[in-house]
């Protein structure tokens, strides 16, 4: 069962890779990278159970957090051109 799950995840990775290479718009590529990160998380989790060491699950969860923050950083950068947020008024910094 885990073997089938791992194979399915590999197929999903291939599809995400194709989308990252072909994808015409910027958001296709960002979404492809995000999906690749999710697939990596899942692959690490499945491999932990496949090899009988589910300790890897913690690492997979840390990866999930990192993936989320990284996607936010890329999106913010794409929207504003910097990581500081919109540069409208200086005395009211955005709280994100």
């Amino acid at each position: 069962m885990f073997i089938a799950a791992a194979a399915a995840i590999l197929v999903g990775m291939a599809l995400a890779l194709v989308r990252a290479a072909l994808g015409p718009s910027v958001y296709d590529r960002i979404l492809a990278v995000n999906m690749m990160g999710t697939k990596t998380v899942l692959l690490i989790g499945v491999l932990g159970f496949l090899t009988g060491r589910p300790d890897f699950l913690d690492i997979a969860m840390v990866y999930a957090l990192l993936n989320f923050v990284g996607t936010l950083a890329v999106l913010k950068f794409h929207a504003y051109g910097s990581l500081a947020g919109p540069r409208s008024d200086a005395d009211d910094p955005p709280s994100s």
Partner: protein, 196 residues
Amino acid sequence: MIGSILTEHLIDIGLLAFLAATGLMMLHQRSLFAVVMLSGIFSLLSAGLFTLMDAVDVAFTEASVGAGISTVLFLGTLALTGAREKRRTIWDLPALATVVVFGALLMWGTLDLPHYGDPTAPIHHHVADRYIEESGTEVGPPNIVTSVLASYRGFDTLGETTVIFTAGLSVVVLLARRRRPAARPPRDASPDAGAS
């Protein structure tokens, strides 16, 4: 058990094939934004491979630095320069020959290395035996890792702690400066009561 080992090998081969495919796609793309995104994918794939080889700390560094920070740095560079690469399809044969020769040399060099996971490799017997057998009497703590980090490699740990402490201090200093208002108001409006 045999099935799981076979599956692990197949996953290794699949991830390596994805790595090669990602590299080729990066070569063929002209939009540099796509290249940056593909390099993030490359880092994530390598992190997965490192995790498969039980090098969890290396994998985590690869994921955070390769897929996180360098992607953002590349995007910052793209915002300053341009996002399109100039079309240039000249085959630089001497460069290709150099790369192929050096790659072959590196592969030839790995033939002398002990096999992956070999229990008789020198790395597992150089000082590890002494740590396992005598750290209890030489140092004291029942945890071998604690003995190695705090005693056998004490100076190394001291240096690492200094580096991490300095980095944390710098972050605190940088974040504490954000409180100051940008447009300076009159002096009595905001007394400088920050804890810096």
